[in-house]
Each structure stands twice: as C-alpha cells, then as structure tokens.
C-alpha cells in the first residue's frame, strides 16, 4: 500500500483483477472440458515402446511423447531416437 493510500485510507481496487483472472481460467477450463485429457500419454508411451521394440531395439527413454496447444490446434508430438547402427 502506498503512503498516499495509507493517509487517505483508500482500499485497493481488486475487482478488475478478479475479472481478468476468471476470464482466463474459465476460458481454459471450458476448452479442456469435453476433450480428451492428456492423462493417456504415459500409457501410450509404454505401448509405443512395446510396438517399436518388436522391430528396432529402443529404450523407454528414447521415445518422448508430448501434447502441446498451439492456438486452436493441439499437437501430439512423438519423438523416437533410433539407436546408432553399428
């Protein structure tokens, strides 16, 4: 609180902060609602490892799965590092 507001006893105006925070969080929660959530990612990663190991020798750590939101799109990124050929 500033010195001036201490002297005049004015209270902080926080209603606008409340409104902005609510608009952000509610917009996000509405988007998440009804869409598949990303909690299937660990299971999918395990299954991918199982399938790929049938053909190539990979470790669980060599496969990275991630989901990203870019504007209106959701991008599912699967990154597989194949072992170096000897």
């Amino acid at each position: 609180m500033s010195l001036l507001s201490l002297i005049f006893g004015s209270k902080p105006k926080t209603a606008n902060m409340a409104k902005e925070r609510l608009q952000l969080i509610i917009a996000r929660e509405r988007v998440d609602d009804g869409k598949p959530s990303a909690d299937f990612l660990p299971a999918m990663q395990q299954e991918l490892v199982a399938v790929i190991s049938k053909y190539v020798h990979v470790n669980a750590d060599d496969i990275k799965v991630s989901m990203e939101k870019k504007g209106n799109y959701e991008v599912l990124e699967v990154n597989i590092v194949l072992p170096e050929q000897n």
Partner: protein, 270 residues
C-alpha cells in the same frame, strides 16, 4: 405439467437453501402449488430454514425406499397454504438417491397436482448435486460476486449441460438463470467486488436477479422464516422481483447501485 427447477451453485455457502426457500415460498404466494425438496442427504438444512425441523418424520430417502408414502413425508409450510417441504435424510448414505427413485418421486408430485417443484441441490458435483439437476427443466445458478463461486458456477453449468436429461435427450436445453447473491453495491462502486455485469459477462447466463448482502438473511434463518417473508427488507423485495421475472413480468433490477447516505442519515442513522 409440473415445472422442475434446480437451485444449484457448485460452491457451498452461497445461498442455495436461502434461495430455494424464498423462491418456493414466492411461487406459493403467487398461488402456485409448489414443493421444495432438499437433496442434501446427510446434511439437511432446508427444514431449519423453512422452520419445520420439528415436524420432520419421514424424508426423501424413506419415500424412495418405500418406507413411507409421499403424502406422509410432505410437510405443509406454516406460512403458505399451497407449499410443501420434502426434507432430506439426515442419517442415510447419499447413494440411497437413485435416479429411478428420484424420477418416481417427481412423477408422483406431478400426479398430486404440483405446478412447481424446487430442487435444493447440495454443494459439490457429486451424486446429490447431479440427482438434483438430472430432471430439471430450469436451473437457478446461485453465485456470489467472488472468484471461487464464479468458477464453481461455470463448472456446474458444464455438468448441467452434460448430465441433465434434457441435455442427454438433445431437445430443448435446461433454461438457465443467474442469481447473484450477497451483493454489495458499495463495494462494487469502490472497485472491490465484481459487478453483476462482470459475473454475467463471464458466465454468459441471463440474469434473473441480484440479492443484496443483508442482515435480514440471518434474522430470517434464526427464526426459521424464509427471507422473502421479512417485511420491508431489501432481500424480500429482491426475491419478489425474482419471482416476477421468472413469471415473465417486467421488473427492473433494484438494490444494485450505491447511494451515498445523506447528512441526515449519517447523523441519525437509518
């Protein structure tokens, strides 16, 4: 045809039971045969707010499980001729509320000639809350101008739009009404509280009323009299306006702007 109206909010302590009691009483005062049901199994309070706690013998769960008839469980209100209260069970598990059971109670109320049934939802998003909104034709979303209440209201709106029978049938959706309660025009004016317009803009639900923060609500609950009966109180007037708007009458919002007290009022109180 019976119209079923759920009073819900997600968050607790925002005024669902106060609103259910006053809304049901207001409809009955207008001559409609009305029932108000407490869905808060295990934490019943509507009976206290309506002032009929000592007359509770049977409850909603007794009726659902066939231990009592609906007529035995319905308690006649002490203020209104055509208003009846169906209390929640205080001892039973909330799983006792089955969808079939609730549906049968609502059908039976229709056969008894009830025009409006008000379902007082418990807080939260669990069984009791979902059962209270499942068969609703209309919903009153009670919200305080405060961040957690607004967010929870948005959540319960999502559940209403997903789990109600009307939503699942894909026909006409549940008609939603926003009721902002515990409103303090002075704090809004001072920039300390969300305005009802802010809340409406965020939730995007048509507003049916604004109930001012007031001491009369506590006076009312102390006596077991719904707040709408407290003579000359702003809260009672605001609830009567809500009833008028609900019935399609034109009633401009009152008690939403702050007027600085004049010198006389400041000197002598008011």
């Amino acid at each position: 045809m019976t119209r079923i109206i759920v009073v819900t909010s997600g968050k607790g302590g925002v005024g669902k039971t106060t609103t259910s009691a006053s809304f049901a009483s207001g409809l009955a005062m207008r001559g409609f045969k009305t029932a108000v049901i407490d869905f808060d199994v295990g934490l019943r309070n509507l009976d206290l707010i309506m002032g009929c706690e000592r007359r509770v013998v049977y409850d909603l769960v007794n009726v659902i499980s066939g231990e009592a008839t609906l007529n035995q469980a319905l308690i006649k209100d002490k203020h209104c001729e055509n208003l009846f209260v169906l209390p929640a069970s205080q001892t039973r598990d909330k799983d006792a509320l089955t969808e079939e059971g609730v549906e049968k109670v609502l059908k039976d109320l229709e056969h008894l000639g009830f025009e409006y049934v008000i379902c007082d939802s418990p807080a939260g998003i669990e069984r009791g809350a979902v059962m209270a909104l499942t068969f609703a034709d209309e919903a009153i979303i009670v919200t305080n101008p405060e961040v957690s209440s607004v967010r929870d209201s948005d959540r319960i709106l999502g559940i209403l739009q997903a789990k109600s029978k009307r939503a699942q049938a894909g026909g006409e959706p549940v008609k939603e009404h926003l009721l902002v309660t515990r409103y303090s025009p002075k704090r809004v004016e001072d920039g300390e509280m969300l305005s009802y317009k802010d809340v409406q803009e965020i939730l995007r639900v048509p507003i049916i009323g604004v109930i001012p923060e007031s001491e009369s609500v506590l006076h009312a609950s102390n006596q077991g009299t719904p707040a709408i009966h407290i003579e000359q109180s702003e809260v009672a007037e605001a609830y009567k306006d809500v009833i008028a708007r609900f019935l399609g009458e034109d009633a401009p919002l009152r008690f939403v702007s702050y007027e600085k007290p004049g010198l006389f009022k400041r000197l002598f109180g008011g």
